[in-house]
Amino acid sequence: MGRTLTRRILESRATGSQWEGSDYFEVEPDLVLGHDATIALIVDQIGEAIERILDPEKLFLVADHFAPPSTVDRANILRRFLDFAKNSDAGEVHLFEGICHQILVESSRCVPGSLIVGADSHTTTAGALGAFACGMGSTDILAVLLTGTTWLRVPPAIRVPFYGRMPEHLRGKDLALRLLGDLGEGGARYKAVEFEDRSDAPGIAFDGRLTLSNMAVECGAKNGIWIPDDRTRQYFHSMGGEWPAEAELYPDDDAEYEQSIAVELDDLEPMIAQPWSPANTVPVSSIEGIEVDQVFIGSCAGGRLEELGDAALLLRGQRIPAFVKVVVTPASTGVYREALRRGWIADLIDAGAVVTNPSCGACGGIDKGLIAAGEVCVSTSNRNFRGRMGDVEGRVYLASGLTAAATALTGRITDPRELLREKTVS
């Protein structure tokens, strides 16, 4: 049987060492992603070994969690990270420019067909470019820094081709939530998910693809990779990337998949995940009317131009109800700058939203937008685990930017379809 794209990439980066009796073999990653929170944990252990870090050029470091820090403890964590970044000769260091996963895909360093590991579970995001990208813990990443290699095995793969045509009201987030509902939180555990856009024009927007790769990890996947196509090529070129001449970009024709989940797009409706699992999904229409205290638009899953644009579209010229907190955190300065240029930030502020600086923000329960006991929040982020975004008695629902904006406008969980129709007609 033929090889999946994931297998092809992993095997192309193998050093030739296989552990006896094990499926694990040694591979050499092309890029190592790290951020302030997880890298700070290993700085002490690196200590004097900093001079022996292999290929610092491959190191891509971003201060995004404590950005800027809001407590003394966090200031100290960030300081450690910055000292390390300075002394390690890292290839790239980004300070307060947004979330590492977004910064990476906005650079030409996220090369299709490459092997990327990162000290964060949402490293899977980079799979949207056709790279193999998976998350690891700090010590695992420390080992990569010290040896230049890591040990992986080839995961069984699930193929997810999309057919039909994206309805106007549908976003990548709805597809991710739909898939999570079908597979469950452990449905792709240890597996590769290989997405393929075979839908009719306009196809699935690149921001939506990033969301799907990002959230592949929520059903346990090791990586969530898109088979590269013209849209990938166009996106990568727009980021200044040079398309790799000889790379692993496609699965073999007879690639072996454990499972295939064909998704017909035409009849799908907006989805929402209820507390306290991203896999606890239902159509938004089935729970409309639940009062909310907050709407959060941000994170590496949902803080891009797609979400900000949808929010601006629905909130422009409107007024958010009193006592509904709307917090918008762009995923990067690139997103922020472009949203400013298009007038979207002004639209959001005028409607009564607060816009924070690009960072992980409220998503990981870090700062600027945590919720209180008993509060309900609709969020474009990727996790609604208990306590993830604030008090353990707060309740978070996950939805697209469009659903989040419709909800911000009414103060209640709202299916965005009717509001969207009104906008398009007028």
Binding site: R189, R383, R386
Partner: protein, 168 residues
């Protein structure tokens, strides 16, 4: 020499994520803060945060430790006395984190149906048995993959690399 780990059962269900086990607001460089976040958001288990650091063995259902890669979760578990983790299955990163820190992570179908909370357990990592001394029962556990088994036996990933003469 046999490789046996003992501890009292610390019981969990399915899909218990790392945000429940250790909420992000306990992420810190200060060990005391990290330790105090142990089980910080697990419903009904908040009192465990105050528990004594007696030896424990986690017995859990499917997909244990899914979610965030934050290693502080495992550091908190270790500080709270967790010697080994037995589950029907693990979140991928959690499994690697446990082994990388030298904490045995062993799969065992239906692990959490085999013990009640605080039962006296004995995990035999050579014989591949989990014994429940309180209930006088015994069940098979799966072998850890040989690569990760070597990592755990070395005391974690960094010690493993040193023993191989790499990354010194």
């Amino acid at each position: 020499m046999s490789w046996i780990v003992r501890g009292s059962a610390l019981l969990f269900g399915d899909d218990v994520n790392t945000d429940l086990l250790h909420p992000s607001y306990f992420y810190s460089l200060d060990d005391k803060t990290v330790r105090s976040g142990f089980l910080g958001a697990v419903p009904g288990r908040e009192d465990e945060a105050e528990s004594t650091d007696e030896p424990r063995i986690v017995v859990a259902g499917e997909n244990f430790g899914c979610g965030s890669s934050r290693e502080t979760t495992l550091r908190a578990l270790a500080m709270a006395g967790v010697q080994a983790v037995v589950a029907s299955s693990f979140g991928r990163i959690f499994f690697r984190n446990a082994c990388s820190l030298g904490i045995p992570a062993v799969t065992c179908s239906g692990a959490n149906a085999f013990a009640d909370d605080r039962d006296a357990l004995e995990l035999d990592l050579d014989g591949l048995f989990l014994r429940n001394r309180t209930q006088g029962a015994e069940t098979r556990v799966d072998a850890i993959d040989p690569f990760w088994s070597a990592v755990v036996r070395a005391g974690g990933l960094i010690l493993f690399l040193r023993s191989r003469g790499e990354g010194r």
